[in-house]
Amino acid sequence: MIQLPCPWCGPRNVTEFRHHGEVVSRPDASSSTPREWRRYLYFRRNAAGWVEENWYHTAGCRRFFRLRRHTVSNENHLVEGAR
């Protein structure tokens, strides 16, 4: 089973977490065009390789954290300094 390094709980099985997806920067909702907003909602890089993404520890401490993961091998480690 794939294990993720929760910054607070330590290495835990991937089934304890919820994948929130690629880190994307959210445009300002009040000033963005519909097209810009939809690009943010729907379009993703979907890379085969190292990606930076957000995970949520649903079955544990319920905190969000940022992870670097290789989407082919599923090797992963925490992003330095991110909380």
Binding site: M1, V14, T15, H19, G21, R38, R39, F43, N46, A48
Partner: protein
Amino acid sequence: MSRGGVGHSAASSRRRRNGRASRYSAWRLLRHGVSGSRWPRAWREHPIEDSYDAVIIGGGVHGLATAYYLAANHGIRDIAVLDKGYLGGGGSGRNTAILRSNYLTPEGVRFYDRSLHLYQHLAADLNFNVMFSRRGHLTLAHNDSSLRTMRWRAEVNKMQGVDSEVIEPAEIKKLVPYLDTSTEARYPVLGALYHPPGGIIRHDAVVWGYARAADSLGVHLHQNTEVLGIDTQHGRVTGVNTSRGRISTPVVVNCTAGWSSLISDMAGVDLPVTTSPLQAAVTEPVRPFLGTVVVSGTLHVYVSQTDRGELVFGASVDPFTSYSMRGSLEFAEGLAGHVLELMPAVSKMRLLRQWAGLCDMTPDYSPIMGPTPVEGFYVDVGWGTYGFKAGPVSGEAMADCVANQRPPQIISSFGLDRFDAGRLVGEKGAAAVGH
């Protein structure tokens, strides 16, 4: 008599030189059986040319069907189908081979029903036994809102001329005697959407049938040929770079499903697609006891029994993105638990193997088909967990789109531009079991 390797008799070489494949028939079967002569290869290997009128990237059912219909319906034969591995090694070889058209939206129902209609006479059209077995398809409802959705789907289906109806537990029990339809179940079955035209097919045979038919019409099939880059100039496609050299072409069609973002990146086209593995598993063969395909959205599982007697299971996509095609223990555990809720009698059956394929998931669980902002670059992607059943209609529609340079009516709602415009076609309830 030795049958090592694959060879050609002089007679079969003569037949193949003019491009027409020798016809399969009961008479030929008898002749080959009695004489011990070798069958000709189903498709030929050609040296790769440095230019083609169209290049299709992806040698699965979608890519091969597109090539076949371009040649058969539009007379465009100078086509190459490229695959980085073997034909049908992606989703086409990894799915659970279920065919149905009981979708939710009118455009979805029309689309998938056209595909089912093509599948029904595919064996005759391609002269290849694809083993379509019309079993009937049951989507179980375990709560009131689910039953209401089944009724909604049944009515939309009927309006499009598709045979679907909601049936009660007593009728379900008659169709599937081993199903637990009692009220003591944790999630009792309240009813089901029954779709008699649905069934199963031999997925590999569909790939091979299209490949053989396309080859006989002059299409070049290039396996083990990886696309490394796509050349564009002034906003239009000029060629592809492959592991076997450069091909100049004005038309490129992306039929790579789980890998579609990687290919579209090469052409500078963004897609609203994320790739997740979809796992499946198969048990040891037992005598036939399950004559219908059974699906449960609430229990996130679907099951059918093959002609060999094995139970084939599928469930929802893995809950995170990945390009890995391996099975996992948590999938097998979850699947087993849910299947035993439905059919407690199978508890002693042994799981033989599990695997995964890659699914290009879209935000609305509908495909992305047609042109892109790069001229000459077409996509037939976003097939998620529902691509195999759509193979024939997608090939037919994409061939029409490429030949006539505009998307045909049947796929007009599935364009890439719908995301910028906010016109999504929501089919999650009918497309998947992961709710």
